[in-house]
Point group: D2
Chain length 383, copies 4
């Protein structure tokens, strides 16, 4: 696991290598944190939950960092307001990298000797936590660069959207019956996906392919963003208040659709998989098709019969506890459970997800109006 630790830590820093010092600090939205903050926060996680608890006489790198780099753990004490992460002129980027090195050295030193399972578990959750932030760094940076009046480019070939899609319009039929849901292996998993249990599903059919850009263009051309009857009430309010007429990052020039990518503005490939839509748009599109989104259970049951892993896929399931759900003790109990309201489940993983950080029981969740993730649509229908 130490190799995994080293490679994940390295990978975070690799992602930042094209950045200028100036790119690390600004915060462009409440839900999108600065790169410098994320570099510090992922490090703080290891320091707080492992080093400060298990290394005798551990000297923390800087006593003030706990205030700066705590995200939302009330158990760990006061912290900077979430919308204030952009004023962190100090510590410097250099100091944050020094912080990373300091913590890495202590972690490596600690785990060179055999450690009890409890500690290995904490290391593993820290690694997974950093993998989650790797994905957020991609999506948060994209949003920041898009917000610049001239749309900064991350790197020339940085786009993650150049995928081809083989679109066969094939469907998988699943029979009515009792199915088992939830994680029960001995690899890493989060508390929110544990608690293997049974659900009863009725006959349904689910698409093998994700919706591609030309499908969504047809929705737009058919007046999808102007027809109230296709939208949930809050979705329709969102469309009107924000005057939405396309997915995030899309812009029309001379009758052609372009989209902002980490490699700059690119023409939208009609055959590539749709991305950067929110739940409202996914749900409206499905209704326009006369279909619906799958539930997270329908998705999990069928997941072995289709390819996934390029887009987070919105389901029509609210993020709620499984039967018998138990939050972990202490600060780590704040990891998942306390967000189980007003959010919807996404299944799968995306092109921005770290390698190996996906499994078919993984439950991602966001408020229905967020679009900055690489999220797409898989259609379903009742039979």
């Amino acid at each position: 696991m130490l190799d995994h630790y080293i490679s994940v830590r390295k990978q975070t820093e690799n992602f930042c290598s094209p950045l200028s010092i100036e790119d690390y600090t600004p915060q462009v939205a409440l839900h999108a944190s600065p790169m410098k903050w994320q570099l510090g926060h992922t490090t703080w996680f290891f320091e707080t939950f492992i080093l400060k608890k298990y290394v005798e006489e551990y000297q923390e790198f800087d006593a003030q960092f706990s205030y700066l780099f705590n995200s939302y753990y009330n158990n760990v004490g006061d912290r900077i307001a979430r919308n204030n992460r952009g004023v962190l002129t100090r510590p410097s980027v250099k100091e944050v990298y020094a912080y990373r090195t300091h913590v890495d050295q202590h972690i490596l030193s600690l785990f060179q000797n055999e450690q009890p399972k409890e500690l290995l578990d904490l290391l593993e959750i820290g690694i997974n936590h950093e993998e989650q932030h790797q994905e957020l760094m991609v999506t948060d940076l994209k949003l920041l660069f898009f917000s610049h009046p001239f749309k900064t480019t991350y790197k020339e070939n940085g786009s993650l959207l150049e995928d081809k899609v083989h679109y066969f319009n094939e469907w998988v039929d699943i029979d009515e019956g009792i199915y088992e849901i939830g994680y029960k292996g001995d690899q890493f998993s989060y508390d929110n996906e544990q608690g293997k249990h049974k659900v009863y599903l009725h006959n349904y059919s689910i698409a093998k392919d994700l919706v591609c850009n030309e499908d969504f263009m047809a929705f737009i051309e058919d007046g999808g963003y102007q027809r109230f009857d296709l939208w949930l009430d809050e979705g329709w309010s969102w469309v009107q208040e924000n005057q939405v007429n396309a997915p995030l990052y899309w812009e029309k020039k001379n009758e052609e659709w372009y989209q902002f990518t980490l490699g700059g503005m690119k023409k939208v490939n009609p055959k590539a998989i749709l991305s950067h839509i929110n739940f409202y748009e996914a749900e409206a599109f499905a209704r326009w098709k006369g279909m619906r989104l799958p539930t997270e259970f329908e998705w999990e049951v069928a997941a072995e019969k289709f390819e996934w892993g390029k887009r987070w896929e919105w389901t029509n399931s609210a993020y709620l506890p499984y039967p018998g759900f138990k939050t972990a003790d202490g600060a780590l109990g704040e990891y998942n459970g306390k967000f189980m309201i007003n959010t919807m489940v996404l299944r799968g993983s995306s092109v921005a997800t770290s390698p190996n950080h996906s499994r078919k029981t993984y439950r991602n969740f966001f408020h229905p109006h967020y679009r900055w993730q690489y999220a797409g649509i898989r259609l379903a229908k009742s039979l």
Copy 2:
């Protein structure tokens, strides 16, 4: 059904009989409509969906009323903004009653002759719609009167909270297995509760009694509103931003709890059933007890084994479509389906619910922060 129509219409007006003219107009919150508006809106419903469609050469009472009294039906055209219902100085209360009489006369005349099922169905939905508004009129008026600096009294003996409770702390155990959910009789029901289907439930236990006031006082005294670990993240934000320390309408004077009722301020009866808490509070209370809220399915399956009908009961189920859910065609399709996001299901009915307007499959739903309904808590636990 005509008798039902007459009695429901009469009951709405009876509720208003203690009001002064001045009480009918103000709007005190986005979600609480003026009495005058509700008197007009329930009437508009019959005029719009029955009289204007099925009565030849029907002369509408006032062509402008459709703009004023449409609630949220995009299909029916433009309408007054929801937060603007309080500027309706005109029509006068008298005119609105004349509008009611006018529509009543035409409805009675129309239905004196036998009518096709389609029309009877519309009449029935209109009656049920008015019954729903009867409950809202109670709760909206209570909120308005509470907002007055000196807390207006509706009528001396108007309190609906003077119930006694026999608290036995008994529990019902339900065995794991497949259960059927949803309405399938031939009485009236809404589209959102139809689509009878199967769910798989695991062993659970559910309380026969609702939580009473002294239970919740213990939560308060134990610092329930100060302990972040008991709350969902959004619930904790809600507590802090609004500096909440008690249920809505509660006030402490000289170490005693009082609550605002339609009969004025009354001492809180510790043995009476708790009311006017929101989902966040219900969920936090259950966690404090080491238990949880039931899902709406657990509630429905067990509902024959306990008494219910005094409080709407928060469940831990998000309001989402049943398998095979279909919205009705046209405007009435906007009745339920478009609200299936970011709301939680309440089951049962309350002391403010119209007689007969309840059944065990009925799905009520509100945003988790609302407290102005007569909502309470029934505890559950996994076995």
Copy 3:
């Protein structure tokens, strides 16, 4: 003075005589109070500053009214929030009229005997205060009725804007020199206009006529609302944020301008005097003309040489204390002085001003963005 008291009190009630009970309660903007509140507040003024202080064993009509009807006098204690005056379902309109009668009887009884000057002064200020509110009742009611989706009419011939104007384009030239400013007679005046003092004025010219509607139409047609160079920076922001393209109450239909009046929608008379513009619009119009607004001192010095009294006239003077300004002691010291920031002075009086409630030294003042008064433009230029 008792006759004056009686006639002013009567006049307030006369203005309300066409109103329905429903018209008295709603509040449509922070700065526009309900009629019922104003009926009560003007009465509270006499009760608070005269009856409760000078009548032994005076029984106040209702102890709660001081909280409800205090406008902004911190000296007098807590009060209802200004934006909350629209929830006052109670007292009823009838009770408020009974309150007026009660206070009137005590005032009449008190002043039937000779009283010291101090008391007569208080009576006089109360009368003037009520006259001020008479004007606000006109303008606040107009705004309320305009806010109704169908624009309620006060009474058929209620428009105050049907004035003719003889437009001669004549100018008054005033010579450079020292002039005396401020009130120094023995009639009633406010503290803010007292403190007679000298100002030095440079040569200027001031228009004998007010700007009329066709002048302002020319400004509109010349793109006045689209040309940033004509506006103060905050004025330009105001235009853009509110998408303003005409004076308040104006609407264009079929290439004709109409305006809302207390007598309903009427065609705009091009030869009548412009009204319902704010300081930003007045200042931009003057700049467009290559001229400017007069200062309040230029206005006062020239006031005997032109007709005034139909519109409040925006000046380019900020509302600030005269040399030697002293606020009155106690609560009445809060009448004027504490508003001497961020407001501009208007001189003259308007068609909505009570008879006799005007003099050439009178200083009215409003924030520069308000448009609901009958305010107009008189041009000036330096020579």
Copy 4:
């Protein structure tokens, strides 16, 4: 003048020399711009108004910079929203310095040859403009560093507040009469201070010393921030909404007052001059003393009889045009005139003002609620 140009440009960069790259980008308030933006904006001013207009075939450094670095000149075209200056990750700090060098070289080359007065005037206004921004850079950086949870220090000995004050409580009496106001020399001055004209002043007395910290501590201890009678109405609202109880940057620890400075937190020296109060506080303090603030005319007339130059001094004059005020043509006409509403005049200059950038006719102006300037109080009284 070229020497002046060189030294001012150099001075701007000297101020930035202690900064890290990370310090240049964040924006902490709408009215406080990032250092990088100010470095670019002052350079853009010379490029836009001189090089692009007067140098044939001038190649602008970067065509996008006009959008990024235009502050509020509508004449010059579209620009970035003022609250969005903090997302400018690019250009890098290095590029902005290169931009400065590029423009400096062209300016130096242009002015090595003799140029017409028109061009010299533009150069002079550009130099004065940069001097103004030098002061803003000091105050904006201070606000940014204060906003950091741990209050970044600019440099150890960076405090500008360590001044001593000789407090003699002496007063200057000025006789009633006509005085001349406004600039009329042949050095540089802004359009807003030109137009020499006469004002009539009444007898008054003005303090030779500025109010010092211990004076203001006495105001605080006497409940100054709790007594509504001392405040303008909007000032009192500001106090309550922001729960103000001390000047900006002050904090009380263990019964001692400390203040944030560019050199870190320092004990407040009771004998040093008060700073960082706004107009509301200045006006309330003066009222508490039974005195008042001087008008800007009283200040200017007496200015030769007292020392000034350490604090901007709030006057009780609104910022309005002098008689005969004319705005310059073109974009530079937007420099001053369009802000003549809702702002108050400050006279003098401060410890943060650039050397030579002060004269007794200089009119600075800010909204009455701003506190981030080094502004203080000089008392006056009518005789």
